[in-house]
Symmetry: C2
């Protein structure tokens, strides 16, 4: 490692000297958790401002036995979904006076192996673990170490009882089916399944089946295909369906990210949306309201999820009981279902 010219930082000693007090006093003024004479405090404050003193995060961390930072572990940072999640997390973390370390464990440059996570007990006070970003063993190790952990879109493995956060997938898909059946009279509703690795996939499919049954509709296995929460996979699946002569009144795309692929496949086969086929997504991500036609979808409170995750972590740090949560969704009617919203 090349030795770079070190930046001379102002330390607590500089401040103490200038203010004519001991470093403890400076420390007390800065942290505010011990009585200090008013005049002394003022002098110290002035010195701090004059020298532009900022406590060293490292020294503080070392002494405190805490890093004052939370970590966020995701599998692929450049997913539209993370835009608002990140915002929620960032806001909450900043509000708590903490830093945020992010780490994407997606495929590395060479597309070979997953990069091993950079985050751990040595550099965070707690980690937000997004689905599929961390192997169970490591999750277990960190949890047994006592490191606060919160799971996103994934429930705790084994009997670890790590709090988890998710949106109400079943209520979401139920709202969709109800709407398509009740308002638009659709019967043959195709379903694009997400990846096995995502729990959301499971819950959405379960909800789909239950909702159809609730309406007394048959479950046609050929109407269930693999969309992978992905634009290209969904495009391929829908194209295959159409080329094999399959017919349906509506398609649930799995999530919003997959929607553009579904729309394209439909268009390329001369079908109109929503006139010939209704299309509905899930998440209400950045894309949803900007597609043509505007996508009817289920809004996941993503930003809220992020804030909630930070709150959970803080709660865990205080040793409080921190139950898992399922956040409520909202059904957003736009145009791709056939409504004129």
């Amino acid at each position: 490692m090349t030795r770079r010219k070190s930046v001379r930082r102002t330390t607590i000693d500089d401040v103490a000297k200038l203010a004519g007090v001991s470093i403890s006093t400076v420390s007390r003024v800065v942290s505010g958790n011990a009585p200090v004479n008013e005049d002394t405090a003022t002098r110290v404050q002035r010195a701090i401002e004059e020298l532009n003193y900022k406590p060293s995060t490292a020294a503080r961390a070392l002494s405190d036995r805490r890093t004052n930072a939370f970590g966020l572990l995701v599998s692929e940072i450049a997913a539209p979904y993370y835009l608002y999640l990140l915002r929620g997390i960032e806001m909450a973390v900043r509000e708590a006076g903490l830093g945020l370390l992010i780490n994407s464990v997606g495929m590395s440059e060479n597309q070979q192996e997953k990069t091993r996570p950079f985050l751990g007990e040595h550099n965070t006070d707690g980690i937000i673990v997004s689905s599929g970003s961390l192997p169970d063993e490591e999750l277990q190790r960190l949890h047994e170490l006592g490191l606060p952990l919160v799971l996103l879109h994934r429930t705790s493995p084994n009997g670890l009882s790590i709090p988890s956060l998710n949106v109400d997938n079943q209520a979401g898909i139920k709202a969709i089916i109800d709407h398509l059946v009740t308002v638009h009279g659709h019967q043959r509703i195709a379903f694009l399944r997400g990846p096995e690795s995502e729990e959301d996939s499971y819950w959405r499919e379960l909800g789909y089946r239950e909702a159809l049954q609730a309406h007394g509709l048959p479950i046609d296995p050929s109407l269930i295909g693999y969309g992978g929460f992905d634009e290209h996979i969904s495009y391929t699946m829908v194209s295959e369906w159409l080329e094999s002569g399959m017919s349906f009144d509506a398609i649930f795309t799995g999530n919003d990210e997959a929607a553009p692929g579904v729309l394209n496949a439909l268009y390329e086969h001369g079908l109109r949306v929503p006139e010939d086929v209704a299309v509905v997504g899930f998440d209400d991500d950045h894309l949803a309201s900007r597609l043509t036609p505007k996508l009817t979808t289920v809004r996941s409170p993503i930003e809220q999820l992020g804030k909630e995750a930070v709150a959970q972590l803080l709660s865990l740090m205080e040793g409080k009981p921190t139950p898992s949560k399922i956040l409520p969704i909202e059904f957003i009617v736009r145009q791709s279902c056939g409504c004129s919203g």
Copy 2:
């Protein structure tokens, strides 16, 4: 501050004890920058693995006088533009074995004041400063302190000579105008200007004027409006234009984010794109290829920009000369210009 039950971390002493060596030796094995007997090294390695030892980032930082983390300062993290930037930065930072601290200084909860930046000399070894995210004074202070700094989409203020990174705005807009004029024969090309606070706005407008002149076309001030790089502002501007009876062959939207607003305004006034009006954007963000019609635009190498920024920071840390760069763009022909791409 509530006292939480502290997580007992494995330290270098634990490893030393188990391996029967001194902590210096362990340190040498870990860092690899001092000769260690092979057998000893093996014993230490085993101990490290058995105990699952991870060096404390804080202790290391304190001793090294470096934090081993870079900071990213943006004004609003939830902008589509940052998706790929973030990915580029994250990859490069991880590859360098560093952490990434992000901080959004956008409006705080109460929408009142900008939050003061969380990043500084005390918690980073260098900062990537995105346009408009840090006041000049603080920039100057950090720079004078010797902290490596890289500017994104903004040149160095005064005579500070902080390296900056940008895309070739002028070449981008020139490519657009050339295409619209040469291929599609358009003459009246409207221009939506970005915010004053963004340098890109200036360069794009300059490029627009120069390109028109190069084609011997007049510059009609009424064809230049304020779009703010924003969907809603652009929507309003274009609507006003149309309602005041203005006519044009094409619109440059300023950036891709503004495009959906432009398209909507056009559609709502019964105009078709590209048949009645051609539309072209800038950036090739996540949205561009998913709009209807698919947006013809200029691709900014955003992910590349992120990687480059990290490279600049590393270069600065090594005390090397680190010149600013303008990254080349690529003109992406799709359908909104009238091509059938």
